[in-house]
Amino acid sequence: MIGLTHFLVLSALLFTFGLYTILSRRNAIGVLMGVELVLNAGALNFVAFGRFVEGGLSGAVFSIFIIVLAAAEAAVAMAIVLAIYQNIRNIQADKLDALQG
């Protein structure tokens, strides 16, 4: 019988892949893909809790907000990536050190 634990473990694994992507990528777009994986894992957790734990549909509502915020984040992040690329012709995350002082 598939229960809450199955979904939590699956989403923990998804979160781990996302975290690994964020930590190990040099390409800024690759890092953003990792962020999307982490957000998906979080939203999946909310829905699983909403179904198996007391609290009704609030989990699904929070998932909707997560999806909307992810869309806004992706749009702004891509605009920033393109603006950076226009200026320094590079989007490797470790080369973006102009503000480092």
Binding site: M33, V68, I91
Partner: protein
């Protein structure tokens, strides 16, 4: 093994395998396309959790929107001409160690917490959560709903302005 279990393991495997491709593939184009399958897998899991509206939103916004935006950004920046090294990896051992540590912590938490479980409400065929969800969004969560719509507007305007700044600067202050 019930059909539900088989569906869960199949969709879960698809999700995790494509997430692994996103995390490890050396070409960012392959990573981007693998992400589509991860998002579709999560949409399938939403269906298994009886969240039909969320599954539809997942497909529309993630697969149809965010992935396309990311792939556009991939193709508008350098690196596409060299697919072998467009997505280099650094600090691999340290990253793997940190991720494994977080995973271990999460698993310990998941298995040691006494979740206040309840029996899942069974839905009749054809019945979904959309109606109840709509009443929650326009009732109890009305203020966050409105704030999010303003935030989306601000993000859209901000994205346009940030992406256009260079063009304005080139013309000596005059928009071209």
């Amino acid at each position: 093994m019930s059909p539900y279990s088989i569906a869960f393991y199949a969709i879960g495997l698809l999700t995790l395998l494509s997430a692994a491709v996103v995390a490890t593939n050396r070409s960012i184009v392959y990573s981007g396309f693998a992400m589509i399958f991860t998002f579709l897998g999560v949409a399938g899991l939403y269906i298994l959790l009886s969240a039909d509206f969320l599954a539809a939103m997942q497909v529309l916004i993630y697969v149809g929107g965010i992935t396309v935006v990311i792939l556009f950004a991939v193709m508008l920046t350098r690196g596409i001409e060299d697919p072998k090294s467009s997505n280099p990896v650094m600090n691999r051992p340290a990253s793997a160690l940190a991720s494994a540590g977080v995973l271990a912590m999460l698993l310990v938490l998941i298995f040691n917490t006494d979740w206040p479980l309840r029996a899942p409400k069974s839905l009749a065929p054809g019945e979904g959560i959309s109606g109840e969800l709509g009443e929650l969004l326009l009732g109890r969560y009305l203020l966050p709903f409105e704030v999010v719509s303003v935030l989306l507007l601000a993000a859209l305007i901000g994205a346009v302005i940030i992406a256009r700044r260079e063009t304005l600067g080139d013309g000596g202050g005059e928009p071209r």
